[in-house]
Amino acid sequence: MTRLKAGGPAIAKQGILVAFIVFMIAFSLMSDRFLSADNIMSVFRQSAIIGVMAIGVTIVVIGGNLDLSVGSMLSFATVLVVDLHDKIGPELAIPVMVLATLCLGAINGFLIGILRLNSLIVTLGMLSAIQGLVLIYSGGQNVDIVDQRGTWFAIFGRGAVFGIATPIIIFGALALIFHVIMTTMPFGRRVHAVGGNPTASVFSGIPRSRVVFMTYLISALCVAIAAIILGSRVMGSQNNVGQGYELQVLAAVILGGTSLLGGSGSILRTVLGVLMLAFIQNGLILMGQPYYTQWLVTWAVIIVAVWLDVAAKRGRLFSPIA
C-alpha cells in the first residue's frame, strides 16, 4: 500500500519524447528536406541561443523561482558586447560584458534570494527595467561591428570546429556541464532541495539564500554566453534583439518537464524541449507556413505537454481533485 507509484501510464510519462517523435515523423513525411543533415544542423545551430539560456532558466526553475528577465538581459548583453567590440576590442569587451551581465543576475539574486521577494514580480520588473537600461546605453541606436571579417570574435557565432558549428558545441558542452553539476554535485542537490521544500532545506542547514542567489548568477552567465553567440553571428544588434526570448525559453523549459513548482527538472530534457520547439518551427517553415503559425502551434504543443505531464502524475487524464 505504501508503494504508490508516482507515475501513471508509461506513455504519458514520456509524453514529450513521444510527441517529439510523432512530430519528427510527420514533418519528415511532409518535407523531403526536413531530415536532411543540412537542415538538422541548421536547426541545432539556430536553437543554440534559446538553448543556452534555457539551461540557466531550468536551474532557476528547479530552485523554485522564475526568470523572465532573460530576454531583455540578452538584449543588454548583446548590445554591450557588440558596441564594446569596436571600442575596446573583443578580448576586453567579452569579460566586461560578462561581468556587467552577472551584475544584473546578482540584482535578481539579491532581491529574490536574500530579500525573498517574489521572483515573478522581480524578474518581470527587471525585464522592462533592463530594456530601459539598454535604450539609455545605446541612445536608441542599433549597434554593429564594422570589420566583420577581420575579427576573431566571429568564431563564436559563425565558426566551426571539426565541421560542427561553434554554437552547437557551446550549447552541447554547457548542457553537459550543467547536467553533471545538477545531477552529481552537492550544489545540484541543494538546488533541488531548496526548490522542493525551502523550509525543510533551511532546517537541513542549507544556505537557501545563497543557493537561490547562485541560480540567478548561473542564469545571467548563460545569457552572457548566449549574447556572445548572438552578437558574433549577427555582428550587430538591435536594441530589443532579445524581446520575446523569455517566453520561448520558458516554453522549452516547461516542455522539458521541469516543474514550475520547483524541485524537479532536468537539463537534458530541457535540451529536448528546445530542440522540439526548434524543429516544429523549422518544419512549419519548410511546409511553407508563415512564421507566425509557429506561435499557435508552439502554444498547443506546450498545453498538450503540460497536460500529459500532469496526467502522468495523477495517473489519469481528468481528475476532480488535484
Partner: protein
C-alpha cells in the same frame, strides 16, 4: 424496514488498486445510525483510501457501497454529500480569506435571482448550524482570524448543511488542545444522539475507547476484523492492527550519565520564552512537556540557530557558543528533528536516500562529485537500524507512510553523529507500532551516550522516554522533575501554570 435496523452505510468487498499496489483488498465496513464506529490501522493500512472511496473521490474497482439499504455510485464529493456522506478532513480544507458562512456553504451558496448570493439566508443558516455546535463565534467572521479549533468547527459545520447520515472524522484531534477535544467529543455525542452514523479515524487509543461503540481494523489494505469496544482492550486491538503485541515496558536499568553536553542559562526571547535554564548530560533524555504554544519549539529552534535569543548563554560541552544559523548548530553537533516532518523535515518529491543525506551532502564527496557509495552506505545503515520500510532508496519520500517518513528524518539527523539530539513531537500523527519503535530508539540512543531532548505534548510519551522532565507554561519553565518523583497530577499542574512549592 426501519432505519434503526439497517446500517446507515455499508461497504462490501471494496477493492481499489493503484498501479502496482492493491490498496484495498475486499474491505467490509458498516456503520449503524447512532453508532460511533472507529476505523483503525497503521499508516498506509488503507484507511484514507477507503474514506476517499466513500467520499466519491476514488472509484472502487470492485465492491458495493450501500447507503440506507440502497446501492449507490458516487463520483464526486458533492454527490457523496447529497447522499448524506460527509468527510471531515484531517487537514483543514477551508478558504482562509472567506467568512465562516461562505466556507460552510462553499459550492452550494444559497442564491437569489441572477445568481446573486443570498447573504441573509446564508448567514442565518450558518449561524443556526454554529449554534447547534455551541460555537461562540458568528458566521460573518473571516476564517483566517479563527483559532485552529474553531476552524475545525467550521469544517464540521460544513458537514451539517445537509441531513448527514454518515459523518467521517479523520484524525480530528491532531491539532486540538484537551479542552477543545472535550467540545468536539460533545458534538460527536450530539450527532450520535441524533441518529447520525459516525466513522472515527484516529491513532489515539484513549479517544477510541472513550468514544466508539465498535472498532474495525485494517492492515495492509485488508479487513482484519470488527470488535465491540466494550468487550475488547488496547492490547487486542493493537495485535490485530500490527500483528504483534506492543512492548510498553520501560528499560529500568539505571542509566549512567556522562558530562553535561548542553547547558542553557537564563536564555530569553521577548514574547516567546524567558529565564530558560536547563542542562542535558550525555546519556540522558530530557523531556519538555507543556501545552502547544508554551515556547518549547521556540527554544528548540533557538538552539538550532533558527532564532536569536535576546539574552542568556548557551554552552555546548562546556564551551560558550553562539549559534547564528542551522549550519552553526550542525557544526556544533546539534541536530533537530523538527515538529512538522512534511513542511520542515523532508523534501517530499526527493528520494529517501537524498533526503537522509541532505545536511551533509557537501561533505560526502569524491572529488567534486557526490559520492553515491558514501550516500548509500549511510542510507543502508540507518534503514537497517531504524527498520525503515521502503522498497528502494529511489522511492520519493512523499509516498512512504508517516512512521517511515519520520524514521527517515530521524535517520537523517542521527547520521550526523550529533552530540545533542533534539526531537520535537517525534511521534505526531504516526501509528502505535512505529510510535513504540521510536520510543525504544530514543531510549537506546541515550544508552549509547547521546544527549537527547524530547519535546512532546503527549504525557505518556514524555513519561516513557525521559530521565528528567521540564514542564513549561507560557514561555517559562515551571518545574523540573526527575522521572521517579513525577506524577501525572503534578505534571498537569505544572503545565497549567499552577505552582506547587512542595513536590507532590
Amino acid at each position: 424496514m426501519s432505519d434503526a435496523q439497517q446500517p446507515a452505510l455499508r461497504l462490501q468487498g471494496i477493492v481499489k488498486t493503484f498501479p502496482g499496489v492493491r490498496a484495498l483488498d475486499g474491505v467490509d465496513f458498516e456503520v449503524m445510525p447512532g453508532e460511533v464506529h472507529a476505523l483503525l490501522g497503521e499508516n498506509g493500512a488503507g484507511k484514507s483510501t477507503l474514506m476517499k472511496v466513500l467520499a466519491g473521490m476514488y472509484q472502487p474497482d470492485d465492491g458495493k457501497i450501500i447507503i440506507a439499504g440502497r446501492p449507490v455510485r458516487m463520483t464526486t464529493p458533492i454527490e457523496a454529500k447529497a447522499e448524506g456522506v460527509v468527510l471531515i478532513h484531517q487537514e483543514l480544507s477551508l478558504v482562509p480569506e472567506m467568512s465562516a458562512a461562505e466556507n460552510i456553504y462553499l459550492g452550494e451558496l444559497p442564491r437569489r435571482s441572477f445568481g446573486r448570493v443570498d447573504w441573509k439566508t446564508l448567514e442565518e443558516r450558518s449561524n443556526t448550524i454554529l449554534k447547534r455546535l455551541k460555537c461562540s463565534f458568528r458566521s460573518e467572521v473571516t476564517v483566517a482570524n479563527l483559532s485552529i479549533a474553531n476552524q475545525q468547527m467550521v469544517e464540521i459545520a460544513r458537514a451539517l448543511t445537509v441531513d448527514a447520515r454518515v459523518v467521517v472524522f479523520d484524525e480530528p484531534t491532531a491539532s486540538l488542545t484537551d479542552a477543545e477535544k472535550v467540545v468536539l467529543f460533545d458534538i460527536i455525542n450530539d450527532l450520535k444522539a441524533q441518529g447520525v452514523g459516525i466513522v472515527y479515524i484516529s491513532h489515539r487509543m484513549d479517544e477510541i475507547f472513550t468514544l466508539s461503540d465498535r472498532i474495525t481494523v485494517l492492515r495492509d489494505g485488508a479487513y482484519r476484523g470488527t470488535l465491540t469496544t466494550a468487550h475488547t482492550n488496547e492490547d487486542e486491538v493493537t495485535r490485530l492492527m500490527i500483528g504483534r503485541s506492543l512492548d510498553l515496558s520501560r528499560d529500568e536499568a539505571a542509566p549512567t550519565f556522562g558530562k553535561t553536553m548542553l547547558e542553557v542559562r537564563n536564555m530569553g526571547c521577548p514574547g516567546l520564552y524567558k529565564d530558560i535554564s536547563f542542562s542535558v548530560r550525555e546519556g540522558e533524555v530530557v523531556g519538555f512537556y507543556g501545552l502547544v504554544g508554551a515556547g518549547r519549539t521556540e527554544i528548540a529552534e533557538t538552539l538550532f540557530g533558527l532564532r536569536k535569543p535576546a539574552s542568556g548563554e548557551i554552552r555546548v560541552d562546556g564551551e560558550p557558543v553562539e549559534i547564528a544559523s542551522p549550519r552553526d548548530a550542525i557544526a556544533l553537533g546539534i541536530s533537530l528533528v523538527p515538529e512538522n516532518r512534511k513542511e520542515q523535515g523532508l523534501v517530499l518529491q526527493m528520494n529517501c536516500r537524498d533526503n537522509m543525506t541532505l545536511p551533509q551532502v557537501q561533505d560526502l564527496t569524491a572529488g567534486p562529485f557526490v559520492s553515491q557509495g558514501a550516500e548509500l552506505a549511510i542510507f543502508d545503515q540507518y534503514r537497517d537500524r531504524l527498520a525503515i520500510k521502503t522498497p528502494s532508496w529511489k522511492q520519493p519520500v512523499g509516498v512512504l507512510s508517516g512512521g517511515n517518513q519520520q524514521k527517515i528524518v530521524i535517520g537523517k539527523w542521527l547520521s550526523m553523529q550529533p552530540r545533542v539530539l533534539i526531537v520535537d513531537e517525534p511521534t505526531r500523527g504516526i501509528d502505535v507500532g512505529s510510535k513504540s519503535e521510536i520510543h525504544q530508539l530514543l531510549r537506546e540512543l541515550a544508552g549509547q551516550g547521546y544527549a537527547v531532548i524530547v519535546i512532546s505534548s503527549e504525557m505518556p510519551e514524555v513519561l516513557r522516554v525521559s530521565d528528567r522532565i521540564v514542564a513549561m507554561y507560557h514561555g517559562r519553565i515551571m518545574r523540573e522533575f526527575g522521572i521517579h518523583e513525577v506524577t501525572e497530577d503534578s505534571l498537569v499542574q505544572a503545565i497549567s501554570g499552577i505552582r506547587v512549592d512542595e513536590p507532590a
